[in-house]
Amino acid sequence: MIATALNLAASGAVKGPKIDWAGLSPLVALLGGVVVVLLAGLLRPRFAREQVVPGLTIVTLLTSLGLTIWQLDEQKNLVAGALRLDGLSTTLTVIFLVAGIAATLLSWRAMAPRESAHGEYFSLVLSSISGMVVLVWAQNTVSLFLGLELLSIPLYVLCATEMRRATSLEAGLKYLVIGSVGSATLLYGLALIYGATGTTDYTATAQAFSAKALSGDTLALAGIALVLVGMCFKCSVAPFHQWTPDVYEGAPTPVTAFMAVATKAAAFGVFLRFFDVALIDAQSTWGPALAVLATITIIVGNVGALGQSSLKRMLAYSSVAQAGYMLAGVVVSTQLGVRATVFYLGAYLVMNLAAFGVIIARERETGLGDDISAVSGIGATRPLLAWPLTVAMLALAGVPATAGFIGKFQLIRATVDGNYTWLGIVIVIGSMISLGYYLKVVAAIWAGAPSTEALATGPALPALAGGAPDAPTTAPPAKPAWELTFVAVVFGAATIVFGIIPQPLFDFVERAGSAFTNLV
């Protein structure tokens, strides 16, 4: 039996799918990078681990970025239709890679890779990004699930990489448990949809929905509901958001930054892809449900953020609220909605990375952690950190002349255009509530009493069992790290630039909208 199979294979009777290596190259580069970085982490010299490994990570990401830009306007199916390279794939891949580069810079001299060994840490970041790429390129539910798990499992580990901090371990475990529940729900839903349609392919699913008139079918609807819940877990859409504040607060801050921007983009990418391609026929069923979820998310996220004094928790709730805004672009199911969502993801990337750069810098310098007092009064002492954080907060609140304003503008336009004007009003009501906590941070920056900079080192940490043997026993000393300021300033500036000259970003996301030929 086996022999016959071998014979068949040898004679070429069983053909593997034709692989378009050019189209697949960004993903291949990432996966190659995972191996190289992991191996480089085994080198003995300290320099190799602490400088070469992050350097190789950045080289990998830049290579992949270059290859993606090379393939930017391609439209083709890859690997026998399991993946697809189109406008949405490439634009979102660029977002993931930029987020990855920023996350690598933020992690470079951070605590987390030192404790968990550099090679492992950075190869996990890279494999998570490859998961994201597979997820949004996926054209059938099998590769969707594959991508989702490849994205999630490294993140579970990354959350727990500050091994001597109980909250980090707690975050990893919590994320693992809740993420698994989400994945299981999603898988169950996918199975039910497969049961109803008899196919795993997106386009075939859409055809089956219209051919068999499945929009009212109980099995299919139950499947859609379960898939919706599973994806809402990943996007932290209320009421499935409870893990977000704890995980964001507990995880090492560079990982939080990465999760906030890249995971969100990946989750929304698959949301757009699956609902606007495969399930478009049932839009009248899931559209209103999603609109209600968006409303709940906007309210819950913004109200939840009001009372927070931890910046990471505040940004976690704010990310919940922002997920609600972006969901509005999914609800309307138009090309305009897709463009608005992807634009907002880009804007969200720059705003959040600017904020996280400052938070990490202050975390390392003051030993006050991510409490709001760590940024208190930095307006007078550290203008290069104060301005990016101010800009980021105002942009997240949607003040004009920032990318956040233009993003909201386009989202509201999409809701009005798609006959969901009331959702546009919900978005602005959310923005009003959000001012309450964003302005609190701005007020602390410019009018707060400066925190005592003397608190250089945090509390001593317990000895590490099974970790890197030369890991330091205290938090690293307070040294202004140029790469953090660099990230904060670059993304802060980008927030303003895209707020004043948004047309290049609009042109860039244009191709994401045109990938959805089935939408108006």
């Binding site: 002349a401 386009q410 509201i412 009005v416 602005v428 009003m432 302005l439 047309q503 609009f506």
Partner: protein, 530 residues
Amino acid sequence: MTLHLSFLVWAPAAFALLGAILGGRSRPAVTRALAGLGTLTALGYAIALVVDYKSGGGLQYVTDRMWIRELGIHYKLGVDGLNLFLVLLTSVLFTATTLWALSERRANESQFWVHLGLAHTFVLGALVAQDLALFVAFFDLMLIPFFFLTLGWGVGEREERVRAVTKLVIYTLVGSLLMLTAAIALAVLSSSQSGRNLSFAFSDLSQVTLTTGSQNWIFLCFAAAFLVKMPSFPFHGWMPDGYRSMPLPVLAVFSGVLSKVAAYGFLRIVIPTLPDAAVHFQTLMLLIALASVLYGSVMAFSVTNVRLVLGYSSIAQLGFIVLGVFSLSDQGAQGAILQSVNHGLVVAPAFFIAGLLAARCGGSEDLRDMGGIAFRAPVLTTLFLIVAMANLAIPGSSNFVGEFLILLGLFNSKLAIAIIAFTGVALASVYTLRLFVRAMHNRVGQHVQSRDISVRDGIVLVPLVLCILALAVYPQLPLKKAEASVKRSVAPALAITSPPPTAAAAPGGAVPGAAPVPSGGTDPVTGGTP
């Protein structure tokens, strides 16, 4: 003559930023000089505009470039009769504030000037913007520098200041954000109705008349934004705290200028583009305005903090302006424009005088601690008296002309409301005289040390008072220049309330700029000056 409005708008911010970069922390003189230069440039430019402006012409000095193609947003600036004098007012008041602030030393000076310069730029931008999205952007942005100015250089405890200014920003942005949705909806619905590309330019928007249902909710969102910004009763909750914690020089421009942008918004956007809704909600708006007049007057009469007396009197004055706008008549709207300029010119020196008064009674801004200041300060008393007389609209002042026109317009449309509004005129003299008498005369307060104004104070105060006097002598100047634009602005609404006799010949009626002057209307130019 071509005058590029971009220079006018961006000069204050650009100079202040340049000053901050060149001056830094070591050379504050450079910062101050450049900030002052920026303001003066804008003032000179504004004067040139007024001189050069051709009365009767439409939009002039237009700059029109596509800004964001995807969203159909133009970078379109222009001046016409509606905003011409408000631009001048803004520049005059910011110059006064700059001169005033130059006479004081403060911490982090370069940042102060940058924020003040930005505030100037954003207010001018909102006034000259001829694109709805641009207007909304500037309208929201205006607030941000004031947030920082109050935060950094305000009065009172830090905690209290933060709370007050956060309240101010949230309150006003609540309205503005509703306006954002309304603006987007207005443009999207207009473009889908007319079948053209999305465009936010006022000229494109006013060509399409939306269905009444859409007009109504869009109108309410705009009204919310403008009424909060003014502020108008019952949306004034931010005013007392905000006024108490702002630094006085900043408060003078804030009170003098920002509220006018809101009044201007009604004339520029709401009435031309949403005429049916404006007619539909006319009574509601008039009642809100009337409530503001009465409430503001009564409160101004009962509070003792000088800032709040002026704040509540502003609520009453802004009520008058809204009465004029929503009389939906030429005279009323002209009165509203004139009164906007008048009120700005009166309230800014009034706040300056409030600062001088406080300096003369041990720093207290409470009327109960004042009294008898006139004793050794004849010049200050004279100047204050002129300002007070203008505020209570004594015949002979330009405020009298403004209020007269407003009430005239109101008489022709809503008689009952006009009659009640008259009590507001009387109440104005009650609270203004109370302020003047209790501060300057009466028994000498405990810590009062009366002295006259210094030359430095005079440099700020005297020009402003001269402006009041000049306008009192010659109020025709703004009226004449504004006339054509005002008529064009209220024409769509007028066509609905009092259809012209030729309506049968021109079906549809609401063609902008085509409505004739209503019969029997008094010529506003010769209407008021005694």
